[in-house]
């Protein structure tokens, strides 16, 4: 027997309270039917006896205390899935919006997923070649990793994401078994179009699933979008054995939606008003990246987030950095110098790279080279701050060499064309060429054997 509950007790933001509900289960999905015939979905977020609090995904516009009736569906939020989902465009809650009709599901999966057993994880060590020197050499992306891009408004993170998607190469037999799940949360219409057009131009659209929650879509639907996208990714990767790259943009919008929802629920706020469970909530998504035993596929995540006021200590980038395996940080100063991609290599890091590079993966000299580039570039920053006080002329000879090295490093190594796809050998050789600008005695991270082979000081 299906019971309809007429009317609601209270409406507050996106939350409604309904009294007298029998048999509701936690996180169950409800259908709310309005007088005008439209149906909205909601999720039960709190139960106290027969009183339930429901979060309405499409918002509570037009809802009054009396003009609706609510039906329990008896199951948590599920995502209908079928292999045909590849190539489709869906809204933020996983419903098709490309006019190609419904998806006939072969399976349905709970969007919240369940935690991967740490014992069942395969430690990721297969590297993905992105063709971008600053990433491949210094913060290598590994299959099964979660590597966010920390950016700011107006910076070229979207271009970088598109370039990664276009150039990302998976070597070996799995080459064609590669797909992309793209989740847009609160992005502008133009940006969504930009991604769609870029994917089409690159000829990859037939292997992309897009989830679009645009900036004018209901905010609360945004809290669902990444979960729908990741559920799809897990299905494709672990059941259909595909290699899936998930791009989620913009995680800051997601976190703000969560904050809005939390404050309307009357929860005690933590830092900057974000709910105390922001870390757990973000982790429940980021941790869905990985590879598991018994499946050939992998889920790799590149979440993009804009740091409000370029502040890396803001709760969203801060907590993200604690969960993800490294980060790629974009820098406004570099972008202003016309450098693309404006990757600030010093705070950028890939935690998994140490086991995915070197002999057998990239090249034996990769690890020491990248160490040395980091260390030398860190000294460039010291030299520059000194130069800003005493002037470049007054610097010691060594410091002057560092200034030159820094300039060349930014202009030729970090900087590369939007369509330029550098092989790993090209990138590494370029790195050695740059190190040869410095005196050999400054290179303390590399042993003599490698220096003999690669260091070419004559060029300086």
């Amino acid at each position: 027997m299906i019971i309809e509950y007429v009317g609601v007790k209270e409406i507050n933001g996106s939350l409604v309270v309904i009294d007298g509900v029998k048999g509701a289960s936690y996180e169950e999905i409800v259908d709310i039917r309005l007088d005008n015939g439209t149906v909205r979905q909601g999720r039960i977020v709190q139960i106290e006896g027969d009183r339930v609090v429901v979060q309405v995904f499409e918002g509570t516009r037009d809802l009054s205390l009396e003009n609706s009736s609510t039906v329990l569906t008896g199951h948590p939020m599920e995502m209908p899935l079928a292999p045909e989902i590849i190539g489709r465009i869906l809204d933020g809650a996983g419903r098709p919006i490309d006019g190609l009709g419904d998806i006939y599901p072969t399976v349905k999966r709970n969007v919240n997923g369940t935690a991967i057993n740490p014992v069942s994880r395969i430690y990721p060590r297969n590297y993905i070649n992105t063709g971008i020197s600053s990433i491949d050499t210094l913060s290598t992306l590994i299959r099964g990793q979660k590597l966010p891009i920390f950016s700011g408004s107006g910076m070229k993170h979207n271009e970088l994401a598109v370039q990664i998607v276009r150039q990302a190469q998976i070597q070996g037999a799995d080459e064609h078994n590669f797909g992309i799940v793209f989740a847009a949360m609160g992005v502008k219409n133009d940006v969504a179009d930009y991604f769609r057009n870029s994917f089409e131009q690159a000829g990859v659209m037939q292997r992309v699933v897009m989830f679009l929650n645009l900036s004018n879509d209901p905010i609360i639907e945004r809290t669902l979008t990444p979960r729908c996208a990741l559920t799809t990714a897990e299905y494709l990767a672990f059941e259909l054995n595909m290699h899936i790259l998930v791009i989620m943009t913009d995680m800051t919008s997601y976190a703000e939606a969560l904050r809005e929802f939390s404050s309307s629920k009357g929860e005690i706020p933590g830092r900057k008003g974000f709910p105390g469970y922001l870390y757990s909530d973000l982790a429940s998504m980021y941790e869905r990246a990985g590879m598991i035993k018994g499946s050939q596929g992998s889920v790799t995540q590149i979440p993009i987030l804009t740091m409000p006021n370029d502040d890396i200590t803001h709760p969203v980038p801060d907590l993200t950095g604690y969960i993800t395996e490294g980060q790629i940080v974009l820098d406004r100063g570099l972008q202003a110098q016309g450098i693309y991609p404006p990757v600030n290599v010093l705070p950028s890091l890939s935690r998994l790279m140490k086991d995915g590079i070197g002999d057998g993966y990239t090249r034996a000299d990769h690890a020491p080279l990248s160490n040395q580039l980091f260390a030398s570039y860190a000294k460039v920053i010291d030299a520059r701050s000194l130069a800003s006080v005493i002037g470049e002329e007054e610097l010691s000879d060594i410091d002057k060499k560092y200034i030159i090295f820094g300039r060349e490093f930014e202009n030729t190594f970090v900087n590369q064309g939007f369509n330029e796809n550098r092989s790993i050998d090209q990138s590494l050789d370029l790195g050695w060429k740059l190190l040869s600008l410095l005196p050999r005695s400054e290179l303390d991270r590399v042993d003599d054997e490698l220096l003999d082979k690669f260091y070419d000081g004559d060029k300086s």
Binding site: S25, A115, P118
Partner: protein, 583 residues
């Protein structure tokens, strides 16, 4: 009779109008029998935190009490194993449920079917008190697991089984206490996680925990039974430092708690530790390690419990007379779990939303460390090394500040060092150790008074450099007089050649104390001799052009750990080159 669920809010469950539960009692929630713990009782409601996802629970579902506190099964099979935050074996769960963790799993914490080779030491008629040993079994090739009388029981042995193969729940010894009650002692016992296990007497920590990491052993040593905090923003190498310590420190047993951290990291630990062979014993590191993995996406309440689970396991092995080190990565995640649950309970928050009881919980945890005469008659220790992940890399936040109050070592990781790939990125200006006075006698006895003197010299040079760098930042290093330039050069040699350590280099990843001492000696010898040159008003560039500084910096790679005699050549070489400049 089972009570019924009234309200559900995330991991927090309420039950109305009942008096059948006790505080901290373990309960089963719902038809799937999810594990929960009673965390609040008032006249109207009993509040329960649930250790598993609560999706799908309904009001009216049963809640069943166990009349026991949240407790652990302690016995052989803990080592070389991996558990979640409430001691459920993850490998067994995998067999049961596949790659994704299911709810309400009822697998036993320890393998009840495995047979252990037990040697029974207790004889009929023996008087045994709590904590005394009645039998032993080799748990791994490395560790003898000693079976102890549960701390609160004592009595006379009235029956003892012969040596042989036994399963976990087989009775080994029967004990009759003074009230005539007979206790059957098996291979396992239970202990509540939030109660410290008793010891006979606490001891002053006078023996260092040798880690093979130069910056720690030499500059900021920790004792066996000590406490240390490793704070650092993301990417500064907290986890890496923890892994290094877990691999190389000279504790007998390692308990590694991955508390709210990354799943891939845990699989890395699993893989690395099983591949790595301990040079001292020739056995895989897993033989002495137990892992507790509660990754960040696993239920938050179990994350809160995982720290207590870890320390209880550590205390259990301490009671056998072992030196145990527990790595908690990261205690901030644990504090955040406290905050999350406190928020759901609508408690009045203190600083930054953390509950007001955060400091008392932290001190309770760190106070469970220590070296002690244990009840079984020998000595054991629990060393706690807790990583802290400060929000926004700001050390003034509550978790870091409160941790600082309760730990005696502080290894502050520094972002700018990490950016320059100076690892371990322990900042020598911000870090400290309070164990010097306790440990110096040990260092002097085993490595001579010089060791302590070298350390003071090194510290002084680094301090001096720090002061000079303030000037250099303003006016550049060229204008400094030569004696100060020399300090900057030698401090660089100390920083790069001594403090920096390469975890991926076969020799440098672990450096024994005698080599650490020789390295200090060579660096300081170079400094003393170079000072003579500068005193003669000979330009410092003459020494630099000899390549001596570079050579000293590369000692860590060039001299293998087992060839300390090679240091003599370095001293000779320095003397020859300096003499040639001076003459």
């Amino acid at each position: 009779m089972a009570e019924k669920i009234y309200g559900i809010n995330g991991p927090v469950i309420t039950v109305r109008d009942t008096s059948s539960f006790a505080m901290m009692e373990m309960v089963y929630v719902g038809h799937e029998r999810l594990i929960g713990e009673v965390i609040g009782i008032n006249s109207g409601f009993t509040t329960i935190q649930c250790y598993e996802e609560t999706t799908g629970l309904m009001p009216g579902d049963p809640v069943e009490g166990t009349h026991a506190q949240m407790n652990l099964m302690l016995g052989p099979g803990i080592l070389d194993n991996i558990f979640d935050g409430i001691e459920r074996p993850l490998a067994e769960i995998e067999k049961e449920a596949g790659a994704f963790i299911n709810r309400g799993s009822a697998v036993s914490s320890l393998d009840t079917e495995r047979e252990w080779d037990v040697t029974v030491t207790a004889k009929v008629g023996d008087e045994l008190s709590g904590g005394m040993i009645y039998a032993a079994t080799p748990e791994t090739k490395l560790i003898i697991h000693k079976l102890m009388v549960p701390p609160l029981i004592s009595g006379k042995v009235i029956e003892a089984a012969p040596d042989g193969k036994y399963k976990l729940n087989d009775t080994i010894v029967k004990l009759e206490d003074r009230f005539g009650t007979v206790h059957e002692l098996t291979l396992c016992q239970r202990w509540p996680i939030r109660t410290p296990r008793p010891v006979a007497k606490r001891l002053t920590p006078t023996i260092p925990l040798i880690t093979g990491q130069r910056v720690i052993d030499t500059l900021f040593p920790i004792s066996k039974g000590g406490t240390s905090a490793i704070p650092g923003g993301f990417g500064t190498g907290k986890t890496m430092t923890q892994h290094q310590l877990a691999k190389w420190c000279d504790a007998d047993i390692i308990v590694y708690v991955g508390c709210g951290e990354r799943g891939n990291e845990m699989s890395q630990v699993l893989q690395e530790f099983s591949e790595l062979i301990d040079p001292k014993t020739g056995r895989p590191l897993t033989d002495r390690t137990t892992l507790i993995a509660n990754t960040s996406n696993m239920p938050v309440a179990a994350r809160e419990a995982s720290i207590y689970t870890g320390i209880t396991l550590a205390e259990y092995y301490r009671d056998m007379g072992y030196d145990v080190a527990i790595m908690a990565d990261s205690t901030s995640r644990w504090a955040e779990a406290l905050r999350e649950i406190s928020g759901r309970l609508e408690e009045m928050p203190a600083e930054e939303g953390f509950p007001a009881y955060l400091p008392s919980r932290l001190s309770e945890f760190y106070e469970r460390a220590g070296r002690a005469d244990v009840l079984s008659g020998s000595k054991g220790s629990v060393t706690i090394i807790g990583a802290v992940s400060p929000q926004g890399s700001d050390f003034s936040e509550p978790v870091t500040q409160n941790t600082k109050r309760f730990t005696r070592c502080f290894w502050a990781l520094d972002k700018s060092l990490a950016y320059a790939r100076h690892y371990p990125a322990i900042n020598w200006n911000d870090s400290y150790s309070e164990y010097f006075t306790d440990l110096d006698p040990w260092y002097i006895e085993n490595y001579g008074r010089e060791f302590v003197e070298y350390r003071s010299s090194i510290t002084a040079l680094l301090q001096e450099e720090n002061r000079l760098m303030e000037i250099v930042k303003l006016i550049g290093s060229d204008v400094l007089p030569d004696d100060q330039k020399l300090i900057i050069e030698i401090a660089k040699a100390i920083r790069v050649g001594f403090l920096q350590q390469n975890a991926f280099h076969k020799d440098d990843t672990y450096v024994p104390l005698d080599k650490q001492k020789c390295m200090m000696q060579v660096i300081l010898h170079l400094y003393q001799r170079a000072k003579e040159v500068v005193a003669e008003n000979i330009p410092i560039s003459r020494i630099k052009s000899q390549g001596l500084f570079e050579k000293v910096i590369k000692i860590k790679y060039d001299i293998p750990n087992d060839r300390p005699e090679m240091f003599d050549e370095y001293i000779k070489d320095i003397d020859e080159k300096i003499d040639s400049i001076l003459s």
